[in-house]
């Protein structure tokens, strides 16, 4: 349970680091690369969250609906 909660800090950390990178790149005047970084961070977090979500749905299926 507490070990799983570490994923929260992971995601929040990714969010903050991506925001910092975005700000730095913007200051350097590289708008496109800054946008790209934000998109990449979003996709990274999306992958993590999708893994967790599929785990949740599998668990609900096996508990409530009696199938794999």
């Amino acid at each position: 349970m507490l070990g799983e909660a570490m994923i929260l800090f992971q995601i929040a950390g990714i969010g903050m680091i991506v925001a910092i990178i975005h700000t730095v790149l913007k200051q350097m005047g590289k708008e496109e690369i800054a946008q790209f970084t934000t998109l990449m961070g979003f996709i990274l977090v999306l992958l993590i969250v999708l893994g967790k979500l599929s785990e949740l749905f599998q668990q609900i299926k096996s508990v409530f609906l009696f199938q794999g």
Binding site: M1, F9, M16, V45, V49, L53, Q59, V63, F64
Partner: protein, 130 residues
């Protein structure tokens, strides 16, 4: 002391979400989603024990297995629907959330059709001359 764990995870998650929201609101939403998933997974382990109890009670009371299975299915659908609808309402899309709730209700009724027909048949059976 499980509830303390759940509440502290909720508080920490809301703090993190508030902090991240200032810089990157889409990732803050993911923090909220993952919090919901973690708490739900935690509760699901407890629910398994309750469901076992319900099944045993049903067997002892000679309730037909189909009915208990249907009820469990309905509870599961209701949980999933609530989870999704609340998350989407948090993201600010209450129109889609309302549609998800509607879909949940309709799917629950379709799952419950065997029970409904059984009830109606029983009532018709009681009626004189039916």
């Amino acid at each position: 002391m499980d509830i303390i764990i759940v509440v502290s995870i909720g508080i920490v998650a809301s703090l993190l979400a508030l902090i991240v929201k200032e810089q990157n609101s889409s990732i803050a939403f993911f923090v909220v989603v993952v919090t919901g998933i973690i708490i739900f997974l935690f509760v699901l382990q407890k629910i398994t024990g309750i469901l076992l109890l319900i099944e045993q009670l049903g067997e002892r009371a000679n309730v037909e297995g189909l009915y208990i299975k249907t009820i469990l299915k309905i509870i599961g659908i209701a949980y999933i629907t609530e989870f999704g609808a609340h998350l989407i309402r948090d993201a600010g899309l209450s129109a889609i959330a309302a549609k998800i709730e509607l879909a949940g209700k309709i799917i629950i009724i379709t799952v419950a059709i065997p029970i409904l027909t059984a009830v109606i048949e029983t009532i018709l059976h009681f009626m004189p001359g039916g």
